[in-house]
């Protein structure tokens, strides 16, 4: 276990204040239940997501570095936890750029000076995902000990999406042996939900593209990619797809509805954030975990399985 994960700087990011509100709520509730503390990064800004990165990747590096600078230099934090795959990916990318590219360092120093805050230096903080936070902050054994409402009987397909592990070189801590996360077959969410009693199904599309980035430019391709993921989850026997990214989650939910409307293809697998599932296992009420905010009706399924 990593003691430094017991209290981390929390960077929710824009999505968790909007479509991913349920993820924000359930992450905070699960942290509280497990005794893991979150200090929200003060006056945080957008990580640069896709929009800024496509216009100018170095400005995106700066935006992500500002978040890490506040955490390190104004809050004294050594660990920043970002539950959104997009934010997590961008902070990691910024860290990589600042460690390896002089021109990125110069741009970040220049803009930071103009903005009037201390420049972030590579290595000041460690950026982690919510999965790392729980896996290495609590661990499966302790989690198992705290389970009050086992997820036994619930079949789960764990969907990580593509940004959690790609590109590999910005995640140097992964692929470092069995205890570390794998970039080709991620397993941290599987491990945590198994500890909560769930049955993880073999789901080979766990890192496949959901077309999330193409939603506006090519919705039909996104819908068909999502439909294939939903069908594969059902074919694997899953009741639920567990998610750990607000963009993937919204994409799966919305394109499930769109697939039915546009293509006449109905699927019944439900989507729940892994934090909502862990919260249920820890005995928290579904409402407290904002299960009612999901587009995909997970509550009915939870009731059916005797979990709510």
């Amino acid at each position: 276990m990593k003691a430094e994960y017991k209290r981390v700087a929390y960077y929710p990011g824009c999505a968790l204040e909007g479509t991913g509100h349920a993820y924000n709520k359930s992450t905070r509730e699960v942290g509280r239940a497990l005794g893991l503390e979150l200090d929200e990064v003060k006056n945080w800004n957008c990580c640069g997501a896709m929009e800024v990165k496509n216009v100018d990747p170095k400005v995106q590096t700066y935006l992500s570095s500002r978040v890490m600078s506040i955490a390190a230099n104004e809050m004294g934090a050594t660990v920043v936890m970002a539950p959104c795959n997009g934010c997590y990916h961008n902070l990691k990318k910024a860290e990589h750029d600042l460690a390896h590219d002089e021109s990125s360092r110069a741009v970040v120093a220049n803009i930071s000076r103009k903005a009037g805050h201390e420049t972030y230096r590579a290595g000041q903080v460690e950026t982690i995902h919510a999965l790392d936070w729980i896996k290495d902050g609590i661990g499966e054994e302790e989690l198992q000990r705290r389970v009050k409402n086992s997820l036994k009987g619930l079949k789960i397909a764990n969907y990580y999406g593509c940004m959690y592990t790609r590109p590999r070189h910005i995640f140097p801590e992964k692929d470092q042996g069995p205890a570390s996360e794998s970039t080709s077959k991620p397993h941290f969410m599987d491990d945590l939900l198994a500890a909560a009693g769930a049955e993880n199904v073999d789901f080979p599309l766990k890192t496949s593209c959901c077309g999330g980035a193409h939603v506006l430019s090519d919705s039909d391709t996104s819908t068909r990619l999502v439909l294939n993921i939903l069908r594969a989850a059902e074919a694997a026997g899953a009741d639920v797809i567990a998610t750990e990214c607000p963009t993937c989650h919204s994409g799966l939910e919305m394109h499930q509805v769109r697939a039915e409307k546009v293509l006449g293809e109905k699927t019944k697998v439900r989507m729940l954030y892994f934090t909502q599932l862990l919260g249920i296992a820890l005995g928290l009420a579904p409402r407290k975990l904002s299960v009612h905010e999901n587009v995909s009706d997970g509550l009915e399924l939870l009731k059916e399985k005797g979990l709510a």
Partner: protein, 137 residues
């Protein structure tokens, strides 16, 4: 070269069939990648990576297009399912494995057809841009 939509239909039609399905699905996955490579003006490789032409084609297709790596694991899972079906046959599991291999192949076809339809689509993918671009600040 026949249209990708035709390949998708064939993938769907052989999903549940028996004996030759793994070879056929692997060949169809290769055909999908050949489309992408040919569209970029290159000749698809006949080489292999880790014993699979599919993986060699993926490597060729991703050269200079980082966002194409988003289908890397899909290709590897297709190869993995092929190996399961051919090296560790199991009467109780093989039907499900064939179905999953077909779904993976469908995913590859959808991914590639999306990229083919919209030129430059990958630029909108977060993982697609080079880590360093020259810009003046």
């Amino acid at each position: 070269m026949r249209p990708l939509a035709e390949i998708e239909v064939e993938i769907g039609s052989i999903a549940g069939t028996g004996d030759g399905a793994p070879e056929r699905l692997l060949a169809l996955a290769e055909e999908v990648l050949e489309h992408w490579i040919a569209a970029r003006g290159e000749a698809p490789t006949g080489g292999q990576v880790e014993g699979f032409r599919l993986l060699a084609l993926h490597r060729q297709g991703a050269r200079g297009v980082p966002s194409f790596h988003a289908c890397r694991e899909t290709c590897r899972e297709i190869a993995y399912h092929y190996n399961l079906l051919r090296l560790e046959p199991d009467a109780g599991l093989d039907e499900g494995r064939r179905r999953m291999m077909a779904m993976l192949t469908t995913h590859l076809a959808l991914f590639v057809s999306g990229k083919m339809q919209v030129e430059g689509l990958g630029d909108f993918c977060c993982a697609s841009r080079p880590l360093r671009m020259e810009t003046n600040h």
